[in-house]
Symmetry: C2
Subunit: 131 residues, 2 copies
Protein backbone atom coordinates (compact mmCIF):
# COMPACT_ATOMS: atom_id res chain seq x y z
CA UNK A 1 0.00 0.00 0.00
CA UNK A 2 1.23 3.39 -1.00
CA UNK A 3 1.92 5.01 2.36
CA UNK A 4 3.58 8.01 0.77
CA UNK A 5 0.36 9.15 -0.85
CA UNK A 6 -1.43 8.85 2.45
CA UNK A 7 1.04 10.70 4.60
CA UNK A 8 0.79 13.87 2.56
CA UNK A 9 -2.13 16.31 2.45
CA UNK A 10 -3.10 15.41 5.99
CA UNK A 11 -4.43 12.03 4.90
CA UNK A 12 -4.41 9.25 7.44
CA UNK A 13 -3.45 5.62 7.23
CA UNK A 14 -6.18 3.86 9.17
CA UNK A 15 -6.65 0.16 9.72
CA UNK A 16 -9.89 0.26 7.73
CA UNK A 17 -8.06 1.64 4.71
CA UNK A 18 -5.40 -1.03 5.01
CA UNK A 19 -8.02 -3.78 5.24
CA UNK A 20 -9.91 -2.50 2.21
CA UNK A 21 -6.75 -2.13 0.19
CA UNK A 22 -5.73 -5.70 1.01
CA UNK A 23 -9.14 -7.01 -0.02
CA UNK A 24 -8.79 -5.33 -3.41
CA UNK A 25 -5.55 -7.18 -3.95
CA UNK A 26 -7.60 -10.29 -4.67
CA UNK A 27 -9.57 -9.27 -7.76
CA UNK A 28 -12.14 -6.69 -8.90
CA UNK A 29 -14.91 -6.57 -6.34
CA UNK A 30 -18.11 -4.80 -5.35
CA UNK A 31 -18.66 -3.05 -2.04
CA UNK A 32 -20.78 -5.95 -0.78
CA UNK A 33 -18.07 -8.45 -1.71
CA UNK A 34 -15.37 -6.42 0.01
CA UNK A 35 -17.57 -6.26 3.09
CA UNK A 36 -17.98 -10.05 3.09
CA UNK A 37 -14.28 -10.69 2.62
CA UNK A 38 -13.46 -8.42 5.56
CA UNK A 39 -16.16 -9.90 7.77
CA UNK A 40 -14.71 -13.37 7.31
CA UNK A 41 -11.38 -12.03 8.50
CA UNK A 42 -13.12 -10.43 11.51
CA UNK A 43 -12.17 -7.00 10.20
CA UNK A 44 -15.71 -5.68 9.85
CA UNK A 45 -15.90 -2.24 8.24
CA UNK A 46 -19.08 -0.28 7.75
CA UNK A 47 -20.32 -0.12 4.15
CA UNK A 48 -20.37 3.68 4.23
CA UNK A 49 -16.69 3.66 5.09
CA UNK A 50 -16.03 1.25 2.25
CA UNK A 51 -17.83 3.53 -0.21
CA UNK A 52 -15.96 6.56 1.05
CA UNK A 53 -12.63 4.79 1.05
CA UNK A 54 -13.08 3.53 -2.51
CA UNK A 55 -14.01 7.02 -3.64
CA UNK A 56 -10.88 8.26 -1.87
CA UNK A 57 -8.67 5.60 -3.49
CA UNK A 58 -10.16 6.48 -6.86
CA UNK A 59 -9.20 10.10 -6.50
CA UNK A 60 -5.64 9.07 -5.70
CA UNK A 61 -5.76 6.91 -8.82
CA UNK A 62 -5.03 3.81 -6.77
CA UNK A 63 -8.11 2.01 -8.09
CA UNK A 64 -10.57 2.10 -10.97
CA UNK A 65 -14.33 1.83 -10.85
CA UNK A 66 -16.26 -0.06 -13.51
CA UNK A 67 -19.89 -0.87 -14.14
CA UNK A 68 -19.62 -3.69 -16.63
CA UNK A 69 -21.45 -6.15 -14.40
CA UNK A 70 -24.68 -4.17 -14.25
CA UNK A 71 -25.97 -1.84 -11.56
CA UNK A 72 -23.34 -2.76 -9.01
CA UNK A 73 -19.98 -1.01 -9.31
CA UNK A 74 -16.79 -3.07 -9.28
CA UNK A 75 -13.46 -1.72 -8.08
CA UNK A 76 -10.00 -2.95 -8.96
CA UNK A 77 -6.47 -1.88 -8.25
CA UNK A 78 -5.11 0.38 -10.94
CA UNK A 79 -2.20 -1.33 -12.58
CA UNK A 80 0.52 0.60 -14.36
CA UNK A 81 0.13 -1.50 -17.48
CA UNK A 82 -3.12 -0.56 -19.14
CA UNK A 83 -5.20 -3.66 -19.73
CA UNK A 84 -8.70 -4.82 -20.57
CA UNK A 85 -11.17 -7.34 -19.26
CA UNK A 86 -12.40 -10.75 -20.32
CA UNK A 87 -15.64 -11.28 -18.44
CA UNK A 88 -17.18 -14.74 -18.29
CA UNK A 89 -20.94 -14.75 -18.91
CA UNK A 90 -21.22 -18.03 -17.05
CA UNK A 91 -19.13 -17.82 -13.87
CA UNK A 92 -18.56 -14.06 -13.74
CA UNK A 93 -14.79 -14.37 -13.49
CA UNK A 94 -12.69 -11.49 -14.77
CA UNK A 95 -9.40 -12.05 -16.57
CA UNK A 96 -7.07 -9.23 -17.54
CA UNK A 97 -5.55 -8.97 -20.98
CA UNK A 98 -3.09 -6.35 -22.20
CA UNK A 99 -3.95 -5.03 -25.64
CA UNK A 100 -2.50 -2.48 -27.96
CA UNK A 101 -5.25 -0.06 -28.86
CA UNK A 102 -3.23 2.64 -30.58
CA UNK A 103 -4.88 1.80 -33.89
CA UNK A 104 -8.33 2.27 -32.41
CA UNK A 105 -7.47 5.65 -30.97
CA UNK A 106 -6.08 6.70 -34.34
CA UNK A 107 -9.33 5.63 -35.99
CA UNK A 108 -11.36 7.72 -33.55
CA UNK A 109 -9.17 10.72 -34.21
CA UNK A 110 -9.71 10.33 -37.93
CA UNK A 111 -13.47 9.95 -37.68
CA UNK A 112 -14.44 12.50 -35.06
CA UNK A 113 -13.43 15.73 -33.35
CA UNK A 114 -14.05 14.17 -29.98
CA UNK A 115 -11.13 14.60 -27.56
CA UNK A 116 -10.53 11.22 -25.94
CA UNK A 117 -9.29 11.23 -22.34
CA UNK A 118 -9.64 7.55 -21.55
CA UNK A 119 -11.61 4.51 -22.58
CA UNK A 120 -12.93 1.19 -21.41
CA UNK A 121 -12.91 -2.04 -23.33
CA UNK A 122 -14.46 -5.27 -22.16
CA UNK A 123 -14.99 -8.61 -23.82
CA UNK A 124 -17.82 -10.90 -22.79
CA UNK A 125 -17.96 -14.62 -23.44
CA UNK A 126 -16.81 -17.89 -21.90
CA UNK A 127 -13.64 -18.44 -19.92
CA UNK A 128 -11.58 -21.60 -20.59
CA UNK A 129 -13.22 -23.38 -17.63
CA UNK A 130 -16.79 -22.70 -18.70
CA UNK A 131 -16.49 -23.46 -22.41
Amino acid sequence: MNKKLLSQNGHRLTKQRCSIFEALDLHPQSVAEIKDVLEKKEETVDKTTIYRTLEYFSQLNLINKTHFNGVTAQYELASPDHHHHLICNNCGSVEDVPLNEKLLLAQVKRKSNFEVKNHSLEFFGLCPNCQ
Copy 2:
Protein backbone atom coordinates in the same frame (compact mmCIF):
# COMPACT_ATOMS: atom_id res chain seq x y z
CA MET B 1 -41.26 -0.43 -35.12
CA ASN B 2 -40.92 -4.07 -35.92
CA LYS B 3 -44.50 -5.27 -35.90
CA LYS B 4 -43.58 -8.66 -37.25
CA LEU B 5 -41.63 -9.58 -34.15
CA LEU B 6 -44.51 -8.52 -31.98
CA SER B 7 -47.26 -10.36 -33.78
CA GLN B 8 -45.64 -13.74 -33.33
CA ASN B 9 -45.49 -15.80 -30.14
CA GLY B 10 -48.64 -14.22 -28.78
CA HIS B 11 -46.89 -10.91 -28.21
CA ARG B 12 -49.03 -7.80 -28.31
CA LEU B 13 -48.48 -4.43 -29.90
CA THR B 14 -49.72 -2.03 -27.22
CA LYS B 15 -49.67 1.74 -27.32
CA GLN B 16 -47.19 1.78 -24.41
CA ARG B 17 -44.73 -0.30 -26.39
CA CYS B 18 -45.09 1.99 -29.39
CA SER B 19 -44.53 5.08 -27.25
CA ILE B 20 -41.43 3.65 -25.61
CA PHE B 21 -40.00 2.51 -28.90
CA GLU B 22 -40.50 5.98 -30.39
CA ALA B 23 -38.78 7.60 -27.42
CA LEU B 24 -35.74 5.38 -27.94
CA ASP B 25 -35.47 6.64 -31.48
CA LEU B 26 -34.06 9.89 -30.11
CA HIS B 27 -30.84 8.69 -28.44
CA PRO B 28 -29.67 6.36 -25.66
CA GLN B 29 -31.74 7.02 -22.57
CA SER B 30 -32.43 5.91 -19.02
CA VAL B 31 -35.82 4.77 -17.75
CA ALA B 32 -36.32 8.11 -15.99
CA GLU B 33 -35.54 10.03 -19.17
CA ILE B 34 -37.92 7.92 -21.22
CA LYS B 35 -40.60 8.53 -18.63
CA ASP B 36 -40.04 12.30 -18.83
CA VAL B 37 -40.10 12.32 -22.62
CA LEU B 38 -43.38 10.44 -22.65
CA GLU B 39 -44.93 12.61 -19.96
CA LYS B 40 -44.25 15.73 -22.01
CA LYS B 41 -46.14 14.13 -24.87
CA GLU B 42 -49.02 13.27 -22.51
CA GLU B 43 -48.32 9.58 -23.04
CA THR B 44 -47.57 8.76 -19.43
CA VAL B 45 -46.41 5.19 -18.90
CA ASP B 46 -45.66 3.63 -15.51
CA LYS B 47 -41.97 3.09 -14.79
CA THR B 48 -42.55 -0.59 -14.10
CA THR B 49 -43.98 -0.96 -17.57
CA ILE B 50 -40.98 0.85 -19.01
CA TYR B 51 -38.58 -1.51 -17.23
CA ARG B 52 -40.52 -4.55 -18.38
CA THR B 53 -40.82 -3.28 -21.92
CA LEU B 54 -37.10 -2.53 -22.18
CA GLU B 55 -36.29 -6.00 -20.87
CA TYR B 56 -38.68 -7.37 -23.46
CA PHE B 57 -37.12 -5.33 -26.29
CA SER B 58 -33.69 -6.50 -25.16
CA GLN B 59 -34.69 -10.11 -25.46
CA LEU B 60 -35.90 -9.49 -28.99
CA ASN B 61 -32.53 -7.83 -29.65
CA LEU B 62 -34.26 -4.60 -30.60
CA ILE B 63 -32.25 -2.60 -28.07
CA ASN B 64 -29.03 -2.78 -26.06
CA LYS B 65 -28.51 -1.98 -22.40
CA THR B 66 -25.35 -0.28 -21.18
CA HIS B 67 -24.05 0.93 -17.85
CA PHE B 68 -21.32 3.29 -18.88
CA ASN B 69 -22.87 6.27 -17.14
CA GLY B 70 -22.80 4.77 -13.66
CA VAL B 71 -25.55 3.06 -11.70
CA THR B 72 -28.28 4.06 -14.10
CA ALA B 73 -28.75 1.85 -17.14
CA GLN B 74 -29.03 3.41 -20.59
CA TYR B 75 -30.91 1.81 -23.45
CA GLU B 76 -30.43 2.38 -27.16
CA LEU B 77 -31.84 0.95 -30.32
CA ALA B 78 -29.71 -1.86 -31.65
CA SER B 79 -28.31 -0.82 -34.99
CA PRO B 80 -27.16 -3.34 -37.57
CA ASP B 81 -23.81 -1.63 -37.98
CA HIS B 82 -21.71 -2.36 -34.93
CA HIS B 83 -20.42 0.86 -33.43
CA HIS B 84 -18.90 2.32 -30.28
CA HIS B 85 -19.51 5.30 -28.04
CA LEU B 86 -17.87 8.64 -27.47
CA ILE B 87 -19.17 9.84 -24.11
CA CYS B 88 -18.66 13.45 -23.07
CA ASN B 89 -17.51 13.83 -19.46
CA ASN B 90 -18.90 17.34 -19.41
CA CYS B 91 -22.36 17.33 -21.01
CA GLY B 92 -23.03 13.59 -21.04
CA SER B 93 -23.78 13.47 -24.74
CA VAL B 94 -23.20 10.20 -26.56
CA GLU B 95 -21.84 10.07 -30.10
CA ASP B 96 -21.58 6.87 -32.09
CA VAL B 97 -18.47 5.95 -34.01
CA PRO B 98 -17.96 2.90 -36.18
CA LEU B 99 -14.60 1.23 -35.63
CA ASN B 100 -12.85 -1.78 -37.02
CA GLU B 101 -11.84 -3.93 -34.10
CA LYS B 102 -10.76 -7.06 -35.91
CA LEU B 103 -7.18 -6.51 -34.86
CA LEU B 104 -8.17 -6.35 -31.22
CA LEU B 105 -10.13 -9.58 -31.41
CA ALA B 106 -7.16 -11.22 -33.05
CA GLN B 107 -4.92 -10.03 -30.24
CA VAL B 108 -7.27 -11.49 -27.63
CA LYS B 109 -7.31 -14.79 -29.45
CA ARG B 110 -3.53 -14.86 -29.46
CA LYS B 111 -3.18 -14.02 -25.79
CA SER B 112 -5.92 -16.02 -24.14
CA ASN B 113 -8.14 -19.07 -24.47
CA PHE B 114 -11.16 -16.99 -23.62
CA GLU B 115 -14.02 -17.43 -26.11
CA VAL B 116 -15.28 -13.94 -26.96
CA LYS B 117 -19.00 -13.61 -27.70
CA ASN B 118 -19.28 -9.84 -27.77
CA HIS B 119 -17.61 -6.76 -26.42
CA SER B 120 -18.15 -3.17 -25.42
CA LEU B 121 -15.89 -0.27 -26.14
CA GLU B 122 -16.42 3.26 -24.91
CA PHE B 123 -14.31 6.37 -25.08
CA PHE B 124 -14.63 9.11 -22.48
CA GLY B 125 -13.52 12.69 -22.94
CA LEU B 126 -14.80 15.97 -24.34
CA CYS B 127 -17.14 16.43 -27.26
CA PRO B 128 -16.42 19.18 -29.81
CA ASN B 129 -18.88 21.54 -28.08
CA CYS B 130 -17.37 21.16 -24.63
CA GLN B 131 -13.69 21.34 -25.48
